[in-house]
């Protein structure tokens, strides 16, 4: 297998691989740096593809199946690219008892996707979070990295439509913005 005995080359010319390499170097290319390295890839490229997992395995001398086992064990790692916009519904206890389940259902129904999926046009990814720690503002969502406090199904859909640039149905009906 090429690249097993010598130092493997990054999967592409992309300069961003230097960031990943720096992470591995800082950890002395030790096998225990696996999670740190995967974090670095995910942070840099948004997700872990097969080539990046192979590169990690070869660089840190970790079995392929172990890399895959670790990458799929932790919910934070994504093996597929995410949509242009990301909607995270917090499913922490406070949010749940204040109706986070309905929020999730609303988005699932509106866009025909389930939590963890991305719309076919790649516009929106819907994710569930265990608890984003904004329990005082329940129910909360995170839209493209910004926490939205005290969300209702109506204003959530409206905001999503703002994000994707589509006019919101509610707006057309003259409903006021939150």
């Amino acid at each position: 297998m090429p690249g097993l005995l010598s130092k493997p080359a990054p999967p592409s010319e992309d300069k961003r691989w230097r960031i990943v390499e720096a992470t591995m170097r800082r950890n002395g290319y030790a096998p225990h740096a696996l999670i740190e390295t995967l974090h670095s890839i995910q942070e840099t490229f948004g997700y872990l593809d097969e080539a990046s997992m192979r590169y990690t395995a070869a660089s840190l001398r970790v079995p392929l199946s172990k890399v895959y086992g670790v990458a799929t064990f932790y919910h934070f790692f994504a093996l597929k690219p995410q949509g242009k916009h990301v909607c995270v519904v917090c499913m922490g206890t406070s949010c749940y008892i204040k109706g986070a389940g309905t929020l999730l259902e609303t988005v699932e129904k509106e866009y025909g996707i389930r939590a963890g999926e991305t719309t076919p046009d790649g516009e929106i990814s819907l994710l569930k979070a265990r608890c984003i720690g904004s329990c005082g503002l329940a129910p909360a969502c995170v839209l493209d990295g910004v926490v939205a406090p005290k969300v209702t199904p109506e204003n959530l859909l409206e905001r999503l439509k703002e994000l994707t640039g589509q006019p919101a149905a509610a707006q057309k009906n003259g409903a006021s913005k939150p």
Binding site: M1, E50, M53, R54, P63, L64, S65, K66, V67, Y68, G69, T72, F73
Partner: protein, 242 residues
């Protein structure tokens, strides 16, 4: 072979009311076995590292707040152990039921029918029917390898295949992906087994597999007998070399 320089003492303990002696570096399961008390186990296989995962071998130890897995718990002086109390016998049966309910185990059409560790355990533990609801997941069979087949429907996630591949063969082709009820054993990056670049095709995983989840191609119902003599042999030979 016992190592003469090893630091162990002889301890006395009581198993099911019978006083026995054992070496302090032995597990409860080993000590019981030497005294012809059989404690059922599934993830345990002599020659592989124990992980205490299947929980079938749990026993009651007097004074201990919890049940202990006998495959990884060492004996101690004065221990009083009950390997077949009503409570653990019932729990064992439920654990087996959980396995039968978790995947799609249809013994009558299985290559391992009659040669299956899970089936044998069910018989030993008096499991006549499964009172838990069957979960019937839909799982794809992987027949891409030219000599072997992986049928996740019959997998019990004991990880014997993972361990034998890592510890004995040294290839680490198998590992577990996902978690919880979604966990599966996979080869390499989850691609078909036949495309694995690390698999040496040695077949050790097939033969340590307790059920018909891993089997040789061409075997029909009840034809797949597992051969495991190699495992103690390899283990002993490696120890001698060391």
């Amino acid at each position: 072979m016992p190592d003469a320089t090893a630091l162990y003492q002889v301890v006395t303990l009581v198993i099911n009311g019978v006083e026995i002696s054992a070496r302090s570096d032995q597990t409860i399961m080993q000590a019981a076995e030497e005294n012809e008390i059989e404690i059922p186990g599934l993830c345990h296989l002599t020659g592989l590292k124990d992980i205490g995962a299947c929980r079938l071998c749990v026993v009651e130890v007097k004074g201990a707040p919890r049940l202990v897995p006998s495959c990884v718990t060492r004996v101690a002086e004065g221990m009083e152990i009950f390997t077949h109390s009503e409570r653990v016998v019932n729990y064992r049966r439920t654990i087996l039921e959980m396995l039968y309910a978790e995947r799609n185990h249809v013994c009558s059409v299985c290559v391992s029918n009659g040669h299956c560790d899970l089936q044998a355990l069910a018989l030993k533990c008096g499991l006549e029917y499964v009172h838990l609801p069957y979960m019937t997941p839909r799982l794809k069979i992987d027949a891409s390898h030219d000599r072997f087949v992986y049928d996740p429907n019959r997998c019990v996630l004991c990880t014997r295949c993972v361990r034998v591949c890592d510890e004995i063969e040294g290839a680490h082709t198998w590992d577990v992906m996902g978690r919880g009820i979604e966990a599966r054993v996979v080869t390499d990056l989850g691609q078909p087994w036949g495309e694995s670049e690390t698999c040496t095709g040695c077949g050790k995983c097939v033969h340590v597999c307790p059920t018909g989840a891993l089997f040789e191609k061409g075997k029909s119902v009840a034809e797949m007998e597992k051969r495991r003599q190699f495992l103690p042999y390899l283990t002993v030979m490696r120890e001698v070399k060391r």
